[in-house]
């Protein structure tokens, strides 16, 4: 079975590479629409990695929520706010180089830390299936679950109010 696991590992690394590329693309593409799509690809990649970690439920939820809802929302926003023919404006502002340096510095430090600490090599017992997650969600984490639902409702209403068309008082300057 060795080749299969090798295949899977190669696949995972491939997926990682792809999602990194997609991430870089989503950050650097001038056209915001393509950036969103690149992000979608990156997120799918991450979902793939979740699958790699045998966390199917999370992967599927990731796909469902992120790619299904959040990216759709982003694209909606892009469509509402972006002038279709608008290509001219530069995508990046003046902080390019400096930020790159900072980012690289940060990355190198993180990598040093990661490299230096001894991480457990093997994955632990069988991955938690959906039922275990459901049990835990309804068990010890039920309070967090309720809070999250309240927050989501609040966000739902808040977003609608903010984005509503005729907001009294807030007209063009």
């Amino acid at each position: 079975m060795l080749p299969l696991t090798l295949l899977v590992k190669a696949g995972l690394y491939l997926i990682m590479a792809i999602s990194l590329l997609a991430a870089v693309a989503s950050v650097s593409l001038p056209n915001i629409f393509h950036a969103a799509l690149a992000l979608a690809l990156a997120l799918l990649g991450i979902a793939g990695i979740y699958l790699g970690l045998q966390a199917e439920f999370v992967a599927v939820v990731q796909v469902l929520i992120y790619v299904g809802a959040v990216i759709t929302l982003v694209i909606f926003a892009i469509m509402l706010t972006n002038r279709m023919a608008d290509r001219s404006t530069p995508a990046k502002n003046s902080l390019g180089a400096a930020c790159l340096a900072v980012a690289a510095g940060l990355f190198s430090i993180l990598v040093r830390f990661i490299r230096s600490t001894p991480w457990p090599e093997t994955t632990s017992a069988p991955a938690p299936g959906t039922s275990e997650i459901g049990q835990a969600l309804m068990g010890p984490y039920v309070f967090a679950f309720e809070v999250i639902s309240v927050i989501l409702i609040a966000v739902l209403i808040g977003a609608m109010v903010i984005a509503k068309k005729d907001n009294p008082g807030e007209d063009a300057p």
């Binding site: 502002n93 902080l95 400096a98 930020c99 900072v102 980012a103 510095g105 940060l106 430090i109």
Partner: protein, 637 residues
């Protein structure tokens, strides 16, 4: 105790108030208001006078002011002296007010004239019935004010205004002396009441003679005696009824009345008595001498008043209290008559210069006749009042054994009758010298009072004459203890000869054709010029008193200007400079420092401000930068 007495002065005062405030509205009716008031007070006074004549004696006083331990009481005193004067003042005052309704008819300030007259009447009556020196002095001052107002009634004319001021100032000089006298009396004796005067004199305080003399200064000022007489001739600038009322009958008499009231004080000290006599004699002779050459009708009468007052003062100085008062009463009547007659002549002819008049006898019958009676009275022709009172004075002089004074008085009497008849002959007899004048008789309202006064000056002398065996003198001295002395024919003869002599000389001079006046004038040229120039008193005073006084004033003014103002200005300047410096210091040094701190913080904040660029991403970048820095720091440690 008659409660009505205070009303006597109060009614004219009320009239004064009414006239002053409602004068414009009343217009000519103002006259009736003041005449009504004076007749009312006269009606009140007459029964009281009769009671006093019957021996009654009214006095009442009320505490007015508390001065430390000693209080000041005001009240009224009705004794024979005040009764006589009350009698004179009320009657003469009312007649003159009736007369002036005619005289002042066209004057625009008609109501104000009568207001001043009423005020004067009120003051005179208060003086007459007052029982102490302070109230007396207050009335005295108000009279001074009224004389100023009335003399300067036509204040448009500069001469009237100057005359009013001159009158007021000269009388003020006298008043100062009078006031000092009152004060010394107050020092000497605690009470200022006339009745207590005898007690204070008895206490013989060393300062009393000085007090007497000082009080006599008041008389000199007010009754226009020798040194301070210059204001009376100029006072003729006022309307003639004023001169009649104030400068003939009443106000000038006040000075004499003062001596009468404080006779006890004067009697006690011979020096005072001699002083009084001397001043009186000199005034009488000097005034008469000037009157000889006076050409203005009112000036002649003014000088005659001065000389008659001199007569009264001399009488008082010689101890003739009753003689002085008797002459005061009689003189008030015929002098008022003469002045009103003169006023009627002026009213009729329009001029005051007797050289332009003449031959008015036929044109102004009533005035002429009354004027003649008045002249006869003053000259001392026997049946008339003048003779009796002057005779009394000569008698006292004779009995006092002071012959030089007696001779001087007789000469003055002679001169009086001379210049009076000179006046009469030049105005009424002979030919009209100025044909422009169309003299016309004055209306009835003026000639009426003239005739009343004429009659009075005929009969007022009788009570003091031997026929009534000197009832008036007895009345004054309170009957009983007064000795009736026999008629002294020498004095009578001297006085009659003086009077008739003067008349006949005047007739010779002015009725005859001899041109005698001019001859005598040229013969006695120096005397003549002396007389016409009124002894140059005005010039002397102007030179020796007014000028130096002004000089001193100017000197003081310049001193004030140069020294004091200079000092003040210099201090002002000094403070200005010091504040300028302080301002500079404050602005540049202290503010400088404050501004510096402000400026410095602004500079500093300008630097820090750069951080707040407003770009969200700059802040984000800053966060990550700091994270990186922290991590680096962490690693280093």
């Amino acid at each position: 105790m008659s409660p009505m007495t205070p009303l006597i002065p109060f009614l004219p005062l009320a009239a004064f108030a009414v006239n002053i405030f409602f004068g414009r509205k009343l217009g000519h009716k103002a006259a009736w208001v003041s005449i009504g008031a004076s007749t009312a007070s006269c009606a009140i006074a007459l029964p009281l006078i009769f009671q006093v004549a019957g021996g009654a004696h009214f006095a009442a006083s009320a505490r007015w002011l508390d001065l430390g331990g000693r209080g000041l009481d005001f009240g009224y005193l009705l004794d024979p002296f005040s009764a006589t004067l009350l009698f004179v003042v009320t009657i003469v005052g009312t007649l003159i007010q009736i007369y002036s309704t005619g005289y002042m008819h066209e004057d625009p300030r008609f109501s104000r004239f009568f207001a001043y007259l009423s005020l004067f009447m009120a003051a005179m009556l208060t003086l007459v019935i007052s029982d102490n020196y302070i109230l007396f002095f207050m009335a005295w001052e108000i009279m001074g004010l009224c004389s100023y107002l009335l003399i300067g009634f036509w204040f448009e004319k500069d001469s009237a205004a100057n005359a009013a001021r001159k009158a007021f100032l000269t009388t003020r000089v006298g008043d100062v002396g009078f006031f000092l006298g009152i004060m010394t009396l107050f020092v000497a004796g605690s009470s200022l009441r006339f009745e207590d005067l005898a007690a204070t004199v008895k206490a013989a305080h060393p300062v009393l003679p000085a007090a007497a003399l000082l009080i006599f200064c008041g008389t000199i000022g007010k009754s226009a005696q020798f040194p301070l007489h210059v204001w009376l001739p100029d006072a003729m600038e006022g309307p003639t009824p004023v001169s009649a009322l104030i400068h003939a009958a009443t106000m000038v008499a006040a000075g004499v009345f003062l001596i009468v009231r404080s006779f006890v004080l004067f009697e006690a000290y011979d020096a005072a008595m001699n002083m009084v006599t001397m001043i009186g004699a000199i005034t009488a002779f000097m005034a008469a001498f000037i009157a000889l050459t006076a050409t203005d009708i009112k000036k002649v009468l003014a000088y005659s008043t001065i000389s008659q007052l001199g007569f009264m003062v001399t009488a008082l100085g010689l101890g003739g209290l009753s003689a002085g008062t008797f002459h005061l009463m009689t003189h008030a009547f015929f002098k008022a008559l003469l002045f009103l007659g003169a006023g009627s002549v002026i009213h009729g002819t329009g001029t005051q210069d007797i050289r332009e008049m003449g031959g008015l006898f036929t044109k102004m019958k009533h005035t002429a006749w009354t004027f003649l009676i008045g002249s006869l009275a003053i000259a001392g022709v026997p049946p008339l009042a003048g003779f009796w009172s002057k005779d009394e004075i000569l008698l006292t002089a004779f009995e006092a054994g002071n012959f030089p004074i007696f001779a001087l008085l007789c000469l003055t009497a002679f001169m009086t009758s001379f210049y009076m008849f000179r006046l009469v002959f030049m105005t009424f007899f002979g030919k009209a010298r100025n044909h422009h004048i169309h003299a016309h008789e004055s209306p009835a309202v003026m000639t009426g009072p003239l005739w009343v006064l004429a009659i009075a000056s005929v009969f007022v002398g009788l009570p003091g004459s031997p026929f009534f065996n000197h009832w008036f003198q007895g009345f004054l001295h309170g009957h009983g203890h007064h000795a009736v002395h026999p008629v002294n024919w020498i004095v009578v003869g001297a006085s009659i000869s003086a009077g008739l002599g003067g008349i006949s000389l005047a007739a010779v001079f002015y009725l005859g054709q001899g041109g005698f006046p001019q001859k005598v004038a040229s013969a006695f040229r120096p005397l003549y010029t002396l007389s016409t120039n009124k002894f140059w008193f005005d010039e002397i005073y102007a030179k020796f008193i007014v000028a130096p006084f002004n000089g001193v004033g100017r000197m003081l003014f310049s001193f004030d200007q140069k020294v004091i103002d200079a000092a003040v200005n210099r201090t002002g300047l000094a403070t200005l400079n010091t504040s300028a410096f302080k301002n500079w210091f404050d602005k540049y040094v202290i503010d400088g420092f404050v501004n510096f701190t402000g400026h410095f913080t602004q500079l500093l904040s300008a630097l820090l401000r750069l951080m707040q660029t407003g770009f969200v991403q700059h802040y984000l970048f800053l966060i990550f930068l700091s994270v990186l820095a922290l991590m680096l720091l962490e690693m280093r440690l």
